[in-house]
């Protein structure tokens, strides 16, 4: 053990760091340690200007932080360091060697604007190509599994049905009821101006079953399940589990993606239906509060709601489920390296899931309009 090691707990180490300038000599003293050196750092470097010799004879303890200070003080004039005891000199020598090691090469200058736009475009094209590849692989694998349903892992399917479906029921009921209550209350004020409060049930009912039910169920699926798929598959990708599957001859898409896609496609109509029913219940409660008896509300709903509207909403929710699960799985499987990759994958799954659901919903709106559905 060198004497330089005798630190903090010893009287030597508690001696305050100090410096003084005499002519061309800068003299350090006391304990030049991580604790003591910062106190004198700036002043000592100012005092070091022009010093040609640095005396360390009174330095009791030197650690690598103190050594950095001494070497910095010596650097401008290439001052001679003298008087150091053997242990202090050993630390100084080690620090000198460490500081003189080659630094990282300077980063290449940033690309010009045109180059950056090009790089951004190329990266976008690569991402698109990977996305199309994923879509093709999934479609091909789905077709293959249709021919051999045994290749589908039913145990996994059940687990995902439970996680994406059953466990989302309470949240769906809560949100559905609240949406029904809010819509009924918000529409009651303008409707009352026209004496048309009796039309609140069809207004809320049609909004829910055609549009809001599938859309909000999709947001729930995206936030709860799409992100979970991305995080789970992203972690597997980062841990090289996906590569291990490929090497074992197991198609990651068949094992990991298809059960999730199927589960999402199956749970979405159920979640949507639950959302619709909860919303209608919430609306009925508000109507009751406004003085409309429940049988009247039910009669209004029967008169205005069609099976076609309900089936249209449930049908598009299946596509929402497939798209959300697909985007979540793709984000997970294409996750990069490092600890941020999983977080990035989950974020892009949620954002991508919600954006594509709304875009898809727009396309359905045009389609239904053209079909006069």
């Amino acid at each position: 053990m060198s004497e330089a090691a005798v630190r903090e707990a010893t009287p030597l180490a508690t001696a305050e760091a100090r410096f003084e300038r005499e002519g061309d000599l800068l003299r350090f003293g006391g304990a030049l340690t991580t604790r003591q050196a910062p106190r004198i750092w700036a002043a000592a470097l100012r005092a070091a200007k022009g010093a040609r010799r640095i005396d360390l004879a009174s330095v009791t303890v030197l650690d690598t932080t103190g050594a950095t200070l001494v070497l910095h003080a010596a650097a401008p004039e290439d001052a001679v360091v003298e008087g150091a005891s053997a242990p202090v000199a050993a630390v100084l020598e080690r620090a000198r060697a460490a500081l003189s090691a080659p630094r990282p090469r300077a980063a290449p200058p940033p690309l010009p604007v045109v180059g950056r736009v090009g790089a951004w475009g190329v990266a976008g094209l690569r991402r698109a190509r990977a996305g199309i590849g994923f879509l093709g692989e999934t479609a091909a694998m789905a077709a293959a599994v249709l021919g051999h349903p045994r290749r589908l892992r039913f145990a996994d399917l059940l687990r995902h049905l439970d996680e994406a479906g059953l466990r989302a029921f309470p949240l769906t009921v809560l949100l559905g009821t609240l949406i029904g209550v809010i819509l009924a209350f918000q529409s009651s004020i303008p409707m009352r101006m026209f004496g048309a409060e009796i039309y609140i049930p069809p207004l809320v009912g049609i909004s829910l079953i055609r549009e809001l039910g599938p859309l909000i169920a999709a947001v729930i699926l995206s936030g709860r399940t799409g992100s979970a798929f991305a995080a789970e598959l992203g972690t597997m990708t980062v841990n090289e589990e996906v590569d291990a599957l490929r090497i074992m001859g197991v198609e990651p898409v068949a094992m990991l993606v298809l059960p999730r896609l199927l589960a999402a496609a199956l749970v979405m109509p159920v979640l949507t239906l639950l959302m619709n029913l909860s919303g209608l219940l919430g609306m009925t409660a508000v109507m009751y509060g406004l003085g409309f008896p429940t049988p009247l509300v039910v009669t209004q709903l029967e008169q205005w709601l069609t099976l076609g509207s309900l089936l249209g909403g449930l049908g598009k929710s299946v596509f929402f489920g497939i798209v959300i699960a697909g985007i979540g799985c793709r984000a997970g499987l294409l996750a990069g390296r490092g600890p941020r990759a999983v977080g990035d994958a989950a974020t892009s799954a949620v954002v991508g899931g919600i954006v594509s659901t709304v875009v898809l919903d727009g396309l359905f709106a045009i389609l239904f309009f053209r079909l006069n559905w």
Partner: protein, 259 residues
Amino acid sequence: METPDIHRTAVADPVVEAEGLAMAFPGNTLFRDVSFQVGRGEVFVILGGSGCGKSTLLKLLIGLHQPTAGQIRILGEDLLGAGGRTRRDLLSRFGVMWQSGALFGSMTLLENVMLPLEEHTRLPPAAREEVARLKLGLVGLSEAADRLPAEISGGMAKRAGIARAMALDPPLLFLDEPSAGLDPITSAGLDRLIQDLARDLGTTFVVVTHELQSILAIGDRCIMLDKQAQGMIAEGDPRELRDHGTHPTVRAFFRREAA
């Protein structure tokens, strides 16, 4: 639980003192009655087979877990009993290198090493960077200062972990499995680094490992834990234990024999 292989050494100036440590989970006693002292400037090795509680013992020593029984003093202070400033002060006086490096993934190696300096010192920013560069230089990572942890190898991550642990020049460093999973050359380089730092900077090391070559290369003294004995079965100079150990597990360990 005295066994013939426990050779207690009186330590004049102990940096770590463990007295009667026990750790038990419901239905499972990991170890009990573990006592030892680590002297200033020593490289002290905690060794044993997988699952014997080496890493748990390390976590007790650094105050992450509470022992079921026993006392721990680090640099003369009771870490578990310390609160507020005393605890913060004590935490700045030892460093830990985690098994996987535990580097912060969103920061470069340089920023990783600068973090403790920002938290615990009042060095000017430029000086902090210079001190952090020096620490990376000490472990031979100067050129990788601007890289992210995801861009470096396992051996480099461990060395960067040591650099970060040394950021504040603590007198005491805990290393968890420094050479596990590394090739022999990198592993030998790390052993050399530990020896150099112990010699030149006088740092005390408490190293958890089961790498036999490392133990013999760097260990001044060691203790050995055993799963079956639920505690310590040996204490002393690892080379002595290799040549003269009598406990069957100690002999099997040092001769690399299957149990």
